[in-house]
């Protein structure tokens, strides 16, 4: 049992929170609010006890994109007010502003979703989607995909080692390396595909596609906070919309 209050929230409550952040960031003008969302997300991550993984994934996934997006806008966004010039490179005020706006949005939205997946197990999320009406087949496909990926990675390494033993070169010129790709991937795909028949038989023998309501061993419960929080999000969001477009 998870003891942390934030981690114990219903997956949908956390998912709506990510959508809420997405909504706020897209309707509010300027980059100040969007940038200030990030420290707020770090605070939530700290409270939930996932700040370490959260920050390392944000750094790995978003930092390079943010830098490149920012540099591109700084130099190439059309504008009049030139701040700095060197040869054909010009930094313009408009580009600087647009770059900040774009990066603040990518940072806020991207990290909101990273935080969501650090705080929610995919299994719980898929279960909550199933409760919302996702067909059991869809849930099965997503979850078995997550299981198959590491298995297939191991198998790919095994096949590559085996092919090296029988003399397939994996080092050297581009052509040599490209040639090693096919003898690794083809057996991998053909052998994994052969396994699907057995899986189909196993599932059918358990009446997987029978048209009845299924029971589940894995149940999710909703607490009081899960009832209240989505309503709070909607109220804040509508208030912001009114403030932005009518006042």
């Amino acid at each position: 049992m998870k003891h942390n209050f934030l981690l114990r929230l219903h997956p949908m409550t956390k998912f709506y929170f990510s959508l809420f952040i997405l909504g706020i960031v897209l309707i509010l003008p300027g980059y100040a609010v969007a940038f200030s969302i990030f420290p707020f997300l770090i605070l939530i991550a700290l409270l939930a006890g996932v700040s370490k993984e959260f920050l390392s994934i944000v750094l790995k996934a978003l930092l390079s994109v943010l830098i490149i997006v920012f540099i591109m806008q700084m130099f190439f966004y059309p504008g009049e007010n030139i701040l700095w010039e060197w040869g054909f490179l010009q930094i313009k005020q408009e580009g600087l502003n647009y770059g900040l706006l774009l990066t603040s949005r990518i940072l806020a939205i991207g990290s909101a979703f990273i935080l969501f997946f650090r705080m929610t197990e995919v299994r719980d999320f898929v279960k909550s989607l199933e409760d919302k009406g996702l067909p059991p087949m869809g849930a099965y496909v997503v979850l078995s995909t997550l299981q198959i990926i590491p298995e297939m990675r191991r198998q790919a390494n095994t096949i590559m080692e085996a092919q090296k033993t029988r003399g397939v070169e994996t080092e050297g010129s581009l052509l040599v390396r490209a040639k090693a790709f096919i003898p690794t991937l083809t057996p991998l795909i053909l052998s994994s595909i052969a396994g699907t028949e057995e899986r189909a038989i196993t599932l059918e023998s358990r009446a997987f596609s029978a048209p009845v309501k299924k029971t589940s061993l894995h149940q999710l419960t909703k607490s009081g906070a899960d009832q209240v929080l989505p309503i709070v999000y909607v109220i804040i969001f509508v208030a912001l919309l009114i403030w932005r477009f009518f006042l």
């Binding site: 994934i57 790995k60 996934a61 978003l62 390079s64 994109v65 490149i68 997006v69 591109m72 130099f75 190439f76 966004y77 054909f88 490179l89 647009y98 770059g99 774009l102 990518i106 939205i109 991207g110 979703f113 997946f117 995919v122 087949m137 099965y140 496909v141 997503v142 995909t145 997550l146 299981q147 198959i148 990926i149 298995e151 297939m152 990675r153 790919a156 590559m160 994996t170 581009l174 390396r177 490209a178 090693a180 790709f181 096919i182 991937l185 083809t186 991998l188 795909i189 053909l190 994994s192 595909i193 052969a194 699907t196 028949e197 899986r199 189909a200 599932l203 059918e204 997987f208 596609s209």
Partner: protein, 200 residues
């Protein structure tokens, strides 16, 4: 033979999706390990499109990007591209475009065009023109030489995509050729590629 939307989703086709997603991810990883200059991250999607039809491939493309997005949300908007590639490959297969090598290469180019047309607007509107892969460098070069943003993004992504997609479809062609008739017969579009022609 007329097929409805739902007929495409039989049990075998659905079980193919996890394999396709894993092939997409592992293919990308292998291309990295072998330090190949292309991504090869849509082989699974195209393969499903060819043997199980456009709608199953759409789902495979979507799930690939959703799972990638768990660790890197930058992939999320590009789910549209993966889905379009899957549908494209499915329809090309339906019309017999994966039956021999020249036709396969043509379908590779068609898939490249689909990928570019869908992904370039995402790159421009969501990321302002660059996401930090190899094509960003080419985009920057085009921009510095005075081209418009849209032209620069379209042309740079075409340059990086065309080799990737043509190689991917050729790999798919050889994999489908290596499949047994017994297996192909269980999939919706498999009969197109069976070696012993049945009387249909």
């Amino acid at each position: 033979m007329k097929r409805s939307f739902k007929d495409d989703f039989n049990m075998m086709a659905m079980l193919l999706i996890p394999i396709a997603v894993a092939v997409n991810l592992v293919g990308f990883q292998l291309a990295n390990v072998l330090r190949l200059p292309i991504f090869l991250d849509t082989i699974g999607t195209i393969l499903v499109g060819v043997i199980a039809g456009p709608w199953v491939a759409l789902l495979a493309g979507l799930i690939t990007n959703l799972i990638n997005a768990i660790f890197n949300p930058v992939y999320l908007p590009y789910a549209l591209t993966s889905m379009a590639i899957g549908v494209g490959a499915g329809y090309l297969s339906k019309h017999g475009f994966f039956k021999n090598i020249p036709k396969t290469i043509v379908s590779g180019i068609v898939i490249t065009l689909i990928a570019v047309i869908v992904s370039a607007p995402i790159t421009v509107l969501v990321f302002g023109g660059a996401t930090g892969n190899t094509s960003s460098l080419i985009t920057a070069t085009f921009l510095a030489s005075g081209q418009e943003l849209w032209t620069a993004v379209f042309s740079s992504s075409f340059i990086t995509e065309v080799a990737d997609k043509v190689v991917s479809v050729l790999i798919v062609y050889f994999i489908v050729k290596g499949m047994s008739d017994r297996y192909l017969s269980k999939l919706n579009y498999g009969h197109l590629y069976m070696k012993r022609k049945n009387k249909k």
